[in-house]
Every structure is written in C-alpha cells, then in structure tokens.
C-alpha cells in the first residue's frame, strides 16, 4: 500500500530530484542537441546501427541505477506488485503506446511542456488521466 511521506525533507529531495532530471535534459540538449525523451531514445537504439549518443545515454541510466543501488538501495528495491503476466501486458502497452503517441513522461512532460508544445500538453493530460484509471482499477477493483 502507498505510504505518503510529505515531510519537508521529502518535499525538498523530490524537488531537487526533479531539478536533476531537468538539468540532465538540458545537458543532453546543450551537448548533443537532442531531447531527453526516453522512449524515443530507446526506440531509436533498437534500430539497426543506432547512433552512439543513444546507447551512451541508456548506459548512463543503467549505471545510475547501480549508483542508486550502492548509495541508497531502498530507492530501487520496491518490486512491482503485479503478476508477471500483468507486467508483460503493461510493458507491451507502454512500448507500443509511447511510439504511437510519440513520447512518454520525459519527452512530452519534462521536455515538451517547457517548450509550450500543445501536442505534448494533450499527450501529458491523456496519459495522466489514463494512468489514474488503471491505477484505481488495479488498486481498488482487482
């Protein structure tokens, strides 16, 4: 079940974490001239002969996971609560849906909203609303 901790420390850490995400996106734009849309970067990396920066960015994400595991293991140790079958179906929907919709939380939310992209605003509101529906069904009806 969800434990809500809204102490000042958590609020500040969350804002700082969000700031790091923004900095990382700005850094990628400044250094490589690309948007940090993770689903798009992954999809591009699955193509034949992918561009090197995509692989390096993804390697950085995985390396960051190991850094978190070493320094703060509780941040990456909560298992998914769904059965394996459910996880696979959800993964298929996320992979297919992000390609059809042209982006995920990072591409449309973190990068699209600060560019005042109406397209990204529509996408963000849509996936947030849909996630509210599925979370509510999974937590309260199943």
């Amino acid at each position: 079940m969800t434990i809500v901790d809204l102490s000042l420390g958590t609020v500040l850490l969350t804002l700082v974490g969000g700031g790091c995400i923004g900095l990382a996106a700005s850094y990628l734009l400044a250094a490589e001239g690309r948007m940090a849309g993770i689903s798009g970067i992954l999809a591009g990396a699955l193509q034949p002969r992918p561009e090197g920066w995509r692989l390096r960015f993804l390697a950085g994400l995985v390396a960051g996971g190991f850094v978190l595991l070493l320094l703060s293991p509780q941040t990456v140790s909560t298992p998914l609560s769904m059965s394996l079958g459910g996880v696979v179906v959800a993964g298929l929907m996320v992979g297919f849906g992000t390609r059809m919709g042209g982006g995920c939380t990072s591409g449309h939310g973190v990068c699209g909203l600060p560019r005042f992209s109406l397209r990204s605003l529509v996408a963000t509101l849509t996936f947030m609303a849909a996630a509210t529906v599925s979370t509510s069904v999974v937590l309260h009806l199943l």
Binding site: M1, T2, I21, L23, L84, G101, S134, L139
Partner: protein, 134 residues
C-alpha cells in the same frame, strides 16, 4: 561521454525524487486512496529548470535549434497522439513505472520483463503500424 553523464544524472534524479519506487508513482494516480502528490513536485522541479535553460540553449546551439524545429508541430494533435498516450498511460498506471524508471531499475525482479515487453511493443509498432499510419 556527455550523453552518458546526462543519463546518469537523469537516473539519480529519478531515484532522489522517489520515481523509481512504483508505489510512490501509483500513489499520485490513486485518487480514490491515499493521494501522494510527489510526482507533481518532480514535474515542477524538472520543468522549472528546463523553462529557464531551454531558451538559452536553443538561442546558442544551432544544432539543438534545428532538432527542435524538426519535431512534430503544435498542430499535429491527432487520434494517434491521443490513443497512443492513453495506451501508454493505462500501462504506466497499472504497474507504476514508465520507460525511464524501468530502465534505471532494470536489474530488479520483474522489471526486466517489463523492459523486454516494452521493447517488443516498440518493435511491433514499428513493424506493423508505422508505415500503415503515417
């Protein structure tokens, strides 16, 4: 090296912000349970930085500007955008991980299966839908 460091910083940011914990993410969508606004704070932090930094970067880097101008325009709000985003959101809310956090915690439990399925979903879209719909 820059792209690697950007990925590393992105991952650490997700971890600090609690976004690699699926329970925290689902807490934001659990409006009928104990609502947890943490995800909104993460977006505020990230968007605030980019609101300031993006215009400066786009003003200086011709390459970044050319890339951004090549992105789909504001006007392309079509059925694909809405249906695709809805499918993504349904999957995201069901398990509590979107592509970024999934890749960051790929070593843990069934998350590996999630990432594998996500790649298959991307491949299916490219193989069977990209040409037909565009």
């Amino acid at each position: 090296m820059h792209a690697f460091l950007a990925g590393l910083l992105f991952a650490v940011g997700l971890g600090l912000a609690g976004m690699t914990n699926p329970d925290t993410v689902q807490g934001f969508f659990d409006v009928f349970g104990t609502w947890n606004p943490q995800l909104a704070l993460v977006m505020v932090g990230a968007i605030a930085v980019n609101l300031v930094a993006f215009p400066k970067i786009l003003g200086r880097s011709r390459r970044a500007k050319a890339h951004v101008q090549g992105l789909p325009s504001q006007s392309r709000i079509d059925r694909r955008l809405v249906v695709g985003s809805a499918l993504f959101g349904l999957g995201w809310g069901a398990v509590g991980v979107c592509p970024g956090p999934a890749i960051v915690s790929v070593g843990g439990g069934t998350t590996l299966a999630f990432v594998g399925a996500m790649m298959v979903g991307m491949w299916v879209h490219r193989r069977f839908f990209e040409g037909a719909l565009s």
